[in-house]
Symmetry: C2
Subunit: 911 residues, 2 copies
């Protein structure tokens, strides 16, 4: 433990911590302190630090040791709460102080960990509160909630199998059935007393122990339960998806309770200072009268809108008439205008202070507003971009802040397809819900998260739409693999909506017309029945559900997005190129702002049409003459390919990689395919079969490929060089400027590269002489074999550029075959042996060391050496930052990652 202070008090506009202490106090704790310091009313409380959590796990979850460590500070902090609330005391049943216990990690992990409210209640205390509040129903509702939460979370009674019913919910169901009512709110005080009695019996039966009556014991249990929740499966999964280290730990916030369930002058709600889906500068949110805690988010009751404008908009979407709206779903602005004004002022103050869109939680207790939380709000990619640009224009933040607060990966959402307008016009809308998370999704219906996972496991191209009454944290994995999410219940701040927005996934929530039958695996809307596997489409921007599949198209990159990209290019030093093998990809990437092609894989061209036939003819050839004959047929086809690509990239450099994959990738390995090939080519089956067998390798990844092919069959390199140079010369006549950079794949030895360079230069010279014309071209090499990186100073003497092929370099540096790594890589990430999949996130310690060594050594002999990266890491933000740091000239990535890389490059330059 590096800090000797374990507990930080806050309350009454003072605080021992502050908003900068996120690492120690967690986000929630830091902001609770921060809000106090800027004079916002917050129930007093204290935060137990993340270091205590870490110590707890280091100690093998030794509860007694941890309590010994923190008890004196906890007791002292509790005294300060008692002083702040002036009256109630924790553990004093004659005037009990109740507290909430909440987790709070450095990064927000919504719904991942557990919370306990109303802690401090027991049979005596509840009686006191019933009497003092003159509201026995409130007191007993609070008590039954506490017992239930405590039983589920601290005593572990929540079933692990999520299909099994919660034992407490089961009891509630029985009681409601006995009484013949549907809603919890229809239960009276007597019913609630009965619930508490039965709950305690269930606890005794399940744990063998009486429910704890001592508030100090309750507190200890709750604090440990919060710590334990840091390591529950959902939290671990969430951290993995969001790359949050386990070492961060969670803080625990203990706070005096305020009650939104104290009657009709009480309420609880959540709000955003701007629109989390679109980014518009509109205050919005939802609340519930006479409700507590998670009721709003859980989506069990339909929440009401905070602003009048929002309420009216909601009513239209939900099909609720103005009369009914006013009566049953009034906005907070209408229902409690004074409190609303307080809330409005407070949200402005918070956004002004934090200079970012805030996601706030509040409770109104008997007409008084209390803020329970503020944090930077999760938002869609589109909202992220718009809010940043708006705040920049408003003068709230500067360019650096605007760029640095963006998550590059979230731009991906903006690049996702949208429905084609003409297809959408013809689409059959079948239901309407809330536009909870924008985007367009088309997929086959599944009714459970497990099914979603299974479908995608079986066929990784499967597209499914997860259809649920409402979602819960257990559905996370299934939501992650689904194209979109449709829920029948829940508002804009329901679990499904919040999580989907966080994932950048299309979601339509609260589509009340959709009736789901989980047993039959069907959903029906207005009498029409849709089965599992039927196709539907969701428009997350309008909340519309369509029947069948609807065609999509690429979005236009305009407005704030375009501005952000321009701003990125202004600040970035690293150029961004693209990996593209076809004119179509090249055009697309250029539209996304690519400044050249960093990797054009020639082999992909060989699979098209007649080319594969000539390619196979070459492979089957018995000697050089036979190969040259086949290559002669390939030459015009390949030259044509290059003309298309060079034309698309007119004036920008195009790095063409010579033939790379092993030859056996071009021939069929199965009997049927070989028989077909035999028929088409007029070559006996046996001959083809024998040749294919001869081509097979034990470890093709480490076999005859790359420039080893070009050195064994120099005529292939000759043909490819000729096609490149001739294409460039042809275009020159048309006034189109091709800038070819010819790249030798896979060398590990200087002389391997030199042998290829000689063929390339000789061939180019020959073509120039034939045509009596010339073009500039460069010759460089992939650095993708560890040995090439280790001897880069030698290779740089003769290579004009290096392109780091970090895919292969990762394979060889780790000794991992990408094709086989699935057998152990997930286990390594689970066990924390690896933090990331090194094929997704560049391993800076190992692979990066080679890259950086090669960059330094290469430049030491050729200072103007052009350096780039063309592995898949070229579009991954942390890897882009690394490339910037070590001084590469460019990164190259797939067209759809180009905008992400541009932003990441700018951020790297600004950091």
């Amino acid at each position: 433990m590096t800090s000797i202070k374990h507990v930080y008090f806050f309350g009454n506009k003072t605080a021992e911590g502050n908003e900068k202490m996120r690492d120690l106090l967690g986000g929630k704790g830091a902001n609770l302190a921060g809000m106090n310091l800027i004079g916002i009313p917050v129930p007093p409380g204290f935060t137990i630090t993340t270091e205590v959590c870490n110590e707890y796990f280091r100690n093998g979850r030794d509860e007694a040791a941890i309590m010994a460590l923190i008890r004196p500070e906890v007791d002292a902090a509790m005294k300060k709460i008692e002083a702040a609330v002036a009256g109630p005391k924790f553990g004093d049943n004659s005037n009990p102080l109740l507290v909430s216990v909440r987790s709070g990690a450095r990064a927000s992990m919504p719904g991942m960990m557990d919370t306990i409210l109303n802690l401090g209640l027991n049979d005596e205390a509840v009686a006191t509160i019933a009497a003092k509040s003159n509201n026995p129903r409130f007191a007993w509702d609070s008590y039954r909630r506490f017992v239930q939460m405590y039983g589920d979370v601290v005593l572990g009674m929540k079933p692990e199998n999520k299909d099994a019913e919660d034992p407490f919910e089961e009891i509630i169901g029985h009681v409601k059935a006995q009484k013949g009512v549907r809603l919890d709110t229809e239960l009276d005080t007597g019913d609630l007393k009965e619930l508490v009695k039965r709950f305690k019996e269930a606890v005794k039966k399940s744990t063998g122990q009486d429910f704890p009556v001592c508030p100090r014991e309750q507190l200890q249990g709750a604090v440990m339960a919060v710590f334990n929740s840091w390591m529950n499966d959902r939290a671990i999964l969430y951290r993995r998806l969001n790359q949050i280290p386990a070492e961060w730990g969670t803080a625990v916030n203990v706070q005096a309770m305020v009650f939104g369930n104290m009657g009709n002058n009480s309420a609880t709600g959540v709000a955003f200072t701007r629109d989390a889906a679109t980014g518009e500068n509109i205050f919005n949110g939802e609340y519930l009268i006479n409700a507590q805690g998670e009721d709003v988010v859980a989506g069990i009751r339909t929440p009401q809108q905070i602003t009048l404008e929002g309420s009216k908009r909601w009513a239209i979407l939900a099909g609720v008439g103005e009369e009914e709206r006013k009566k049953n779903y009034p906005s907070l602005e209408e229902a409690m205008p004074e409190v609303y004004r307080d809330l409005f002022r407070t949200q402005r103050a918070l956004e002004d202070h934090y200079k970012d869109m805030q996601d706030i939680e509040f409770t109104i207790q008997d007409g008084k507003l209390w803020m329970l939380q503020t944090r930077n709000g999760k938002r869609t990619g589109a909202a992220m971009v718009k809010i940043a640009m708006d705040m920049l224009k408003e003068g709230v933040i500067d360019e650096k802040a605007a760029l640095l607060r963006l998550e590059p990966n979230k731009l991906d959402e903006l690049l996702h397809p949208v429905f084609r307008k003409e297809a959408l016009a013809k689409g059959k809308a079948i239901a309407k819900g809330l536009p909870a998370s924008p985007g367009a999704a088309t997929g086959q219906i599944v009714f459970s998260a497990e099914d979603a996972e299974t479908w995608v496991e079986k066929d990784r191209h499967a597209k499914v739409i997860l259809v649920r009454v409402e979602t819960s944290p257990e559905d996370l994995k299934g939501m992650n693999v689904a194209q979109g999410i449709l829920t029948a219940r829940g508002g804009m701040t329901s679990h499904a909506a919040v999580v989907a927005r966080g994932m950048g996934k299309c979601c339509v929530s609260g589509a009340g017309a959709v009736a789901i039958d989980n047993k039959k695996r069907t959903m029906s809307v207005d009498g029409a029945v849709y089965k599992e596997g039927d196709w539907i489409s969701l428009d997350g921007s309008t909340g519309t559900v369509y029947e069948g599949q609807i065609a999509t198209q690429l979005p236009e990159l305009s407005g704030s997005f375009g501005e952000i990209m321009q701003l990125s290019d202004k600040h970035a030093r690293l150029l961004v190129r693209t990996n593209a093998d076809t004119p179509r990809d090249a055009v697309q990437a250029r539209e996304f702002g690519a400044q050249g092609i960093g990797l054009c894989r020639t082999e992909h061209m060989f699979f098209e049409g007649d080319k594969i036939l000539s390619m196979r003819e070459m492979i089957l050839a018995k000697d050089e003459a036979g190969r040259r004959n086949a290559l002669k047929k390939l030459l015009p086809l390949q030259r044509n390919d290059f003309e298309g690509i060079f034309e698309a990239m007119d004036g920008l450099p195009v790095t063409v990689r010579l033939l790379d994959p092993p030859l056996h990738e071009f021939v069929p390995h199965d009997e049927k395919g070989q028989a077909e090939m035999s028929a088409v080519m007029g070559v006996p089956y046996e001959e083809i079969h024998a040749r294919v067998e001869a081509l097979l390798e034990q470890n093709p990844m480490l076999g005859l490929r790359g420039c080893r092919l070009g050195n064994l069959y120099p005529e292939i390199t000759e043909m490819q060089t000729r096609a490149i140079i001739e294409a460039a010369l042809n275009l020159k006549k048309k006034g189109i400027k091709a800038i070819p950079e010819i790249m030798v794949p896979l060398p590990g030895i200087l002389y391997e590269f030199l042998a290829q360079r000689k063929i390339i230069d000789n061939t180019a010279a020959k073509v120039f002489a034939e045509r009596n014309d010339c073009v500039d071209y460069k010759v460089g090499t992939m650095i993708e074999i560890p040995r090439a990186a280790l001897t880069a100073n030698r290779i740089a003497e003769s290579a004009e550029f290096f392109s780091f092929g970090t895919n292969d370099l990762t394979q060889m540096t780790f000794g991992y075959s990408r094709d086989d790594v699935a057998k152990f890589l997930p286990m390594y990430i689970d066990k924390g042996i690896l933090k990331n999949d090194p094929f997704a996130v560049l391993d800076q310690k190992g692979v990066g060391q080679l890259v950086s060594m090669a960059a330094v050594n290469g430049r030491s002999v050729r200072p103007e050496l052009k350096l780039g990266i063309c592995g898949e890491h070229g579009g991954e933000p942390s890897s882009v930052e690394f490339c910037h740091r070590i001084g590469l000239n460019y990164v190259s990535c797939s067209p759809f990652r180009v905008p992400i890389a541009r932003l990441a490059a700018a951020q790297a330059a600004l950091r």
Copy 2:
């Protein structure tokens, strides 16, 4: 060109060069200069430097340019020769100076390149010589030899197909047939004139040009032919086998002719100052009266012995009676006692001067001795060791010189099997030849070098004996793959004998009783006929040929060999361990001086007997419980293995590597094998088949193996650790000291190693507690993944030793699969892209850089880190030297390489 002097004169006991200038003048040229300087009679001449040769090839073989460069110096040197011989002038047909033109590279390449004698002859000159010498037959014999050599070598008339007859030999055959004689010596002057006439006609027919009459033109052609011979196929092959760089080039020696064919008072011969086969200090050699140049070595006439003692010994082996010997085969000692005394003194002087056994060539012209060459003689491994130790004892050289002049790889010969005495006693001797190169060989007869190659290509375990009338340089490849060589003709200095000794290959030469029929592919000895494919055995130490196969055994390492080993250990810093998986190997290696086991591969143990069944049961197990059950059966078997090995290495460290190979290596991949496995194990075939399929990988080398296995199935690591620790404890009770070093294979990530180390330490602690006893053990790791080498400073924090697995490290650093590399590696070595097979000789630039980086970084955090190497490079001398240089503690190699590594380690320390 870095030197401006291109031609170095020598003669008359003066010289412009000296014996230290081997690089520039070649070995022959440097020693010709050197012999002059110590007063030994050498025909005057000059040497054209190796740099001229290199310039010739750099210039694209531009003859005119080279001649322009050297002509003035050549002319000047020729003038000096003329001055030295006082009379004859080059190009003066009235008193012609004849010269020889010989190649001479830095390293001796016997028979690889071409020689031309008697250059300067033409129709006029021959007449002058005939008259002046009063010996027309000699003159015309010299002329016909010259035309033949010049036609073959300079004019390219020697057929490339070695089965095609030389056109000149064909003419000789015709003339002899016409005349009805058998021997060349039976031809008279008239016949020789006829030969010259027909030779010249053949030249004209073949080249379209008259045979050149101008000596200067002849000289230019001959010099260029010598240069060109540097790049002929035989020379290239020889260089590759002997790792001689092409850049060395060859020098050309032009020397005044002396004639061994001037009559019966003339002779030519070769001799060794000590016995090249056994190393005994006995002057020995062979000569022919009235002969020239290569006649002795070519083996066409049976050469006579130089010493009387040698001659008597030869007669016994050859079955020649004393009368006949004296008459037809007198020794030089008898035939020319004066000259013999001169020769004896000279050879002593040369050995004293060069302090090494010399291989000398001489010519006696009309009773006067001329030395034509001296060089350190090629010798067998046994002779190498004995001569070095003898000279050390004689006080000629010191320990350093004795050790440094040894070729470690040649020790291999001494470790080769010898015939078992009892088997040999029962063997049926069928013929007797000369003990040309010692060793024991058993194999199947083949009658051509091509057949030898083909047999071994088809089956790499094939053992063949190459049986030839005599061998020629074209047979090199075939000799290289044969177990031994038997020739019917040729002496101790015949091509077969010299080359076989150089290769350390068993050879019996000149077994005159053997009659070979190449067409029928049979050989007959005393009526018994042996066909191709029949087994015979050769004893190269006695010259005996046996029928059938004779069992062999390992040699004893005693005498000079033992002394050399002790001397090595005295000077070496690097320890030598062995790679051994069985007690038998361990015992063998310990006898060879291994100081521990550096690599004990546990997986090899799993293939024996019942172990493979339990192993397969484990692999088929569906869950951990099933695996544990199978492992329980393996435990006692594996413990037993370890007990055997630890006992064999009592008191020496044993590095045990945990399970490394992918599991699919333990199961049959074919239907038959799987069906058998199904029957034996009582598991349905389909289940086995499915499991095996599931285990297959695209690139198994980069797949689920090494510690990835131990991390996925920790129970395997547990079992192996338990077996190791229990074995050590069991032996401790018996007073045997096991020093286990447990080695984790294939980590690339610190945490990967840590996870294994935790299991190992926990298991060991558990066993210690159970037994209430303990032993010391270390835990370390292989460094065989590039990333492990790159992050060695982190891994060293927790590992007590590193063992560099340079086999895998080479695979991954180069991106070469050992199993597939044959498709392009030979081409890379042919083209000079790679100098060596990196799996045989450690690549110091790339792989070595990683090893050395890891050594430095590892020691930076743990100075006492023990470092070793256990790849196959551990027994390769240049790699051992590298290991010494970078400060490793030990190398580990296969038992038979241990003595080689010990010597290499000493040499490394001495250099």
